[in-house]
């Protein structure tokens, strides 16, 4: 049984449609369904969406930002709520990525502590990381940073008591049941279990600097240090593109 979605004013130029208050795939699927409906409406130039300039799917809500000057806010809110009421839990699958991950000692500084906390060998923790299918719930915190669910609850690990001042870019890290990737050097408190040679954020891309989008699925694939460096070099030389990391070709 799903509660009725709520319409919340985020100031005079955004609406948030809130479906609930939990990190659950079925709830996020309703968010993504509403997002797909809004995207389709924008592509078709539907009048109800006139003035809409941004949409932000999150774990449990969709926020639509609009030009308060060009938009009938009340009509837009009513339309969003109507669409939200009919948003079911079946969604078009997102893209499926296979991304390389290297867990060399200096790339995975928190692997020993996470393993010890759960009474496992580091290799067993790494095995779980590689065996889990992650779902991108939202992009945020910093440009291109994916919040991914799918880390087993049995291995849930709190954030570091004392956050690092500088997490190296491309670090793959877990906190609670979330997995994330830092596209940039940044302060951060998540437990670093490896590093990926892909950037996940390319400021020079013409339309989509962020590789991942909410609704996408991610598998991690182990590479050794040589493989890590080779992929990094190939990406730098543009001999490899982001599409090469998709498990299945993009639809359309």
């Amino acid at each position: 049984v799903s509660p009725a979605p709520r319409l919340l004013a985020l100031g005079d130029s955004a609406w948030t449609v809130e479906f609930g208050d939990a990190i659950v795939p079925a709830l996020n699927a309703r968010v993504m369904q509403l997002d797909a409906r809004v995207r389709a409406g924008l592509a078709a130039g539907e009048p109800a969406l006139a003035g809409v300039w941004d949409r932000v799917p999150t774990f449990r809500s969709l926020t639509v930002h609009f030009d308060p000057w060009a938009t009938d806010a009340d009509a837009l809110g009513a339309q969003l709520l109507a669409w939200a009421g009919s948003a079911g839990a079946s969604e078009a699958p997102g893209r499926h990525w296979r991304l390389p991950l290297c867990a060399d000692h200096d790339f995975a500084p928190d692997l020993p502590a996470v393993a010890e906390r759960h009474g496992l060998a580091p290799a067993a923790v790494l095995h779980q990381l590689l065996a889990s299918r992650f779902r991108v719930y939202m992009i945020g915190f910093m440009p291109g940073f994916p919040y991914m669910g799918g880390w087993p609850a049995a291995l849930a690990t709190p954030r570091l008591a004392s956050p690092r001042k500088r997490v190296p870019p491309h670090s793959v890290a877990v906190a609670g049941t979330m997995c994330g990737v830092y596209p940039w050097p940044s302060p951060g408190g998540w437990n670093i279990l490896g590093r990926t040679p892909v950037t996940l954020f390319d400021p020079l891309h013409r339309t989509a600097p962020a590789w991942l989008a909410a609704g996408d699925q991610v598998d991690w694939q182990a590479v050794d240090r040589d493989g890590y460096e080779r992929i990094q070099a190939e990406l730098a030389r543009r001999q490899r593109q982001r599409e090469d990391f998709l498990a299945t070709p993009e639809p359309g």
């Binding site: 100031g11 005079d12 440009p143």
Partner: protein, 390 residues
């Protein structure tokens, strides 16, 4: 210029060449200064903030004084004064600086900056060494070799320097706005630094006349907000306190957001101080567990995990660009209808200001003054021009 500006009177400096044949070189400063325009839309789902001018109406004042198309990229001045030299020109410039009296709220007497006398917004140093004061809201024409030394804005204040034709750095994702957090826009996606070269439009000929207007000012009074979306995370006492407090702005601010000082606001319980992250807006007022508000600005993150007590309305967002350290601000609640009325009022105010732009005598040596006289005689511009600056 890229099309005729719809908001500016027809008189003005010679029209800039659309090709970026003008060139500026930064001599010093730049820390905190960045190339900005109206910002980029449609990318928040990728974690990319809009960036863009903190005070769009003020930046458009500087553009209008030059006859630039609305939306032309300018230099946002925050932090140490900027000095630049024209390497290829002529190039027209205009500064828009909010008068001290029109800052977000009065600086209490005895604070640094209180009672500071007005001073020139910049000093123009001609290639021959002649130094001329340049007031804000007055255009000037710089020849190759001329320098402009901008005064340092007060901490927490933003001012704008427009150049003829706009700063012509490449568009990235639909905007020239610098978003340092995503390394987008501006020069290599970063703040400006000494030694940088900025392309801009070059004037087609000698200046016809300069243009001047009285200082622009936003309305005053409390900063208006719409409550929520997580107002229920706070006790009724905390909500009352939020609207009854003179919040103090400090140095703890940048283009991402500003922290306010005042009494700690209580959440209904400890758990209410954290929410499952959802989307935020420019103007969202987050209150983390320490109870002190953080107002998100143009470069702020796109999602956040703190409850949002209120959201600043669009009409008052530009005023947040002038929360000088030590100044205070109050919040007042309005509904959507009043938020929209305030936006309409703000637009009307800007257009009324733009209608006061008038030709004036150039800042410069007698030959330019003579040229101005000649133009008057030829009837190209009307008389009734305000007194020349300084």
């Amino acid at each position: 210029v890229n099309g005729a500006p719809h908001h500016a009177p027809a008189v003005g400096p010679a029209v800039a060449d659309p090709a970026p044949a003008g060139r500026l070189r930064l001599l010093s400063g730049g820390l905190g200064c960045s190339v900005q325009d109206a910002g980029r839309r449609g990318l928040r789902h990728q974690g990319i903030a809009p960036a863009g001018w903190l005070d769009g109406p003020l930046a458009e004042c500087a553009n209008a004084l030059l006859g630039n198309a609305p939306g032309s990229a300018c230099i946002e001045l925050r932090g140490p004064g900027l000095a630049l030299q024209v390497d290829a020109g002529p190039v027209a410039v205009a500064l828009a600086v909010l008068p001290v009296s029109a800052a977000l709220a009065a600086v209490p007497a005895g604070s640094p900056g209180a009672g500071r006398p007005p001073r020139p917004a910049a000093t123009l140093v001609r290639a021959d060494g002649q130094r001329l004061p340049l007031s804000a809201f007055t255009s000037a024409t710089l020849q190759p070799g001329d320098q402009l030394h901008c005064a340092e804005p007060a901490a927490g204040d933003a001012a704008y320097l427009a150049v003829s034709g706009g700063v012509q750095v490449p568009m990235q994702l639909g905007s020239r706005a610098t978003h340092a957090g995503a390394r987008l826009g501006g020069l290599d996606g970063r703040l400006l630094a000494a030694g940088d070269t900025l392309p801009c439009g070059r004037l087609a000929g000698p200046p016809v006349a300069e243009r001047q207007a009285p200082p622009f000012s936003h309305g005053d009074g409390p900063v208006r907000v719409m409550p929520g979306p997580q107002a229920e995370a706070f006790t009724p006492e905390a909500l009352a306190c939020f609207f009854a407090t003179d919040w103090q702005a400090s140095h703890e601010q940048d283009r991402m957001g500003m922290r306010l000082r005042g009494p700690a606001l209580a959440h209904v319980n400890a758990a209410a101080a954290d929410i499952l992250s959802d989307a935020v807006a420019v103007g969202s007022i987050q209150v983390p567990a320490n109870g002190l508000p953080i107002v998100l600005l143009a470069d702020g993150q796109t999602v956040g995990g703190y409850p949002k007590i209120a959201t600043v309305i669009s009409a008052d967002l530009p005023r947040l660009a002038h929360a000088r350290a030590g100044s205070t601000l109050r919040f007042a609640t309005v509904d959507r209808a009043r938020a929209l009325a305030a936006l309409a009022q703000a637009r009307k105010g800007w257009l009324a200001w733009a209608a006061t732009i008038a030709p004036c005598r150039p800042t410069g040596p007698p030959d330019e003054a003579a040229l101005w006289q000649a133009n008057l005689i030829s009837g190209m511009i009307d008389a009734g021009c305000p007194d020349p600056p300084a």
